[in-house]
Symmetry: C2
Subunit: 130 residues, 2 copies
């Protein structure tokens, strides 16, 4: 399926905003979390660890949804439905995670670098609101 | 299951903030939306119409999840897992919806009052972050 980012809402992907991520648990019920993300130009990328529930959720059900609202106007938001296409290990320094910290104006040690992964999410549908 | 609202995050339910709601589509994939809500003291209440996709989602899978972030500190958020316990018709004036408008500082006509419903969501788990 080919999808295009609505140009009217592209800024919501480019700004260091907070994505509300919905995944499906093994019992079929949904779960949400507020997450950092990065937009590569065609993928939403997030970091996670191999040891957490949400990571296990992806194994069973790679489809997910996320929404990003404009903090200056919460009636304006972008809804994305997508799929975890690939999970890569972050490197020994957790460089991807460090890049995210920089994007969000933070800097702190990453003691779990050894289990840090990069989620590559392929959007399958964008819905622009507001 | 008995659950208690974390007192540290009760304000996020009481303030007129925006909930990111996750539901599960009939094909098992998640869907998100940004929604108004009201906290009754033991239920999260939202309005919807009988004619929309998300309403149909609830019929098949009444379990949902939502997250509410503090706009003054997005690292502070409340995650709720719950279930649609009951769906009531709003009245002919859509009084519930009008009350929500007032809570959110809005006032406009409700042409779809005839199909407006009140979702009563029973929380089954709260997770306080930040």
């Amino acid at each position: 399926m080919s999808v295009e980012v609505p140009q009217s809402h592209l800024d919501l992907l480019e700004r260091p905003l907070f994505a509300h991520l919905a995944t499906v648990r093994p019992d079929g019920s949904p779960q949400t979390q507020v997450m950092w993300f990065r937009w590569s130009g065609d993928r939403v990328q997030m970091t996670h660890t191999k040891t957490r529930q949400k990571y296990r959720n992806f194994q069973k059900e790679p489809r997910l949804a996320l929404s990003i609202a404009d903090p200056d106007n919460p009636y304006r938001f972008l809804e994305i439905r997508g799929v975890v296409e690939r999970i890569d290990d972050d490197d020994a320094q957790a460089s991807f995670y460090q890049g995210l910290q920089e994007r969000y104006g933070k800097s702190y040690p990453i003691p779990d670098a050894a289990v840090r992964v990069i989620l590559n999410i392929r959007p399958e549908k964008f819905v622009a609101h507001g």
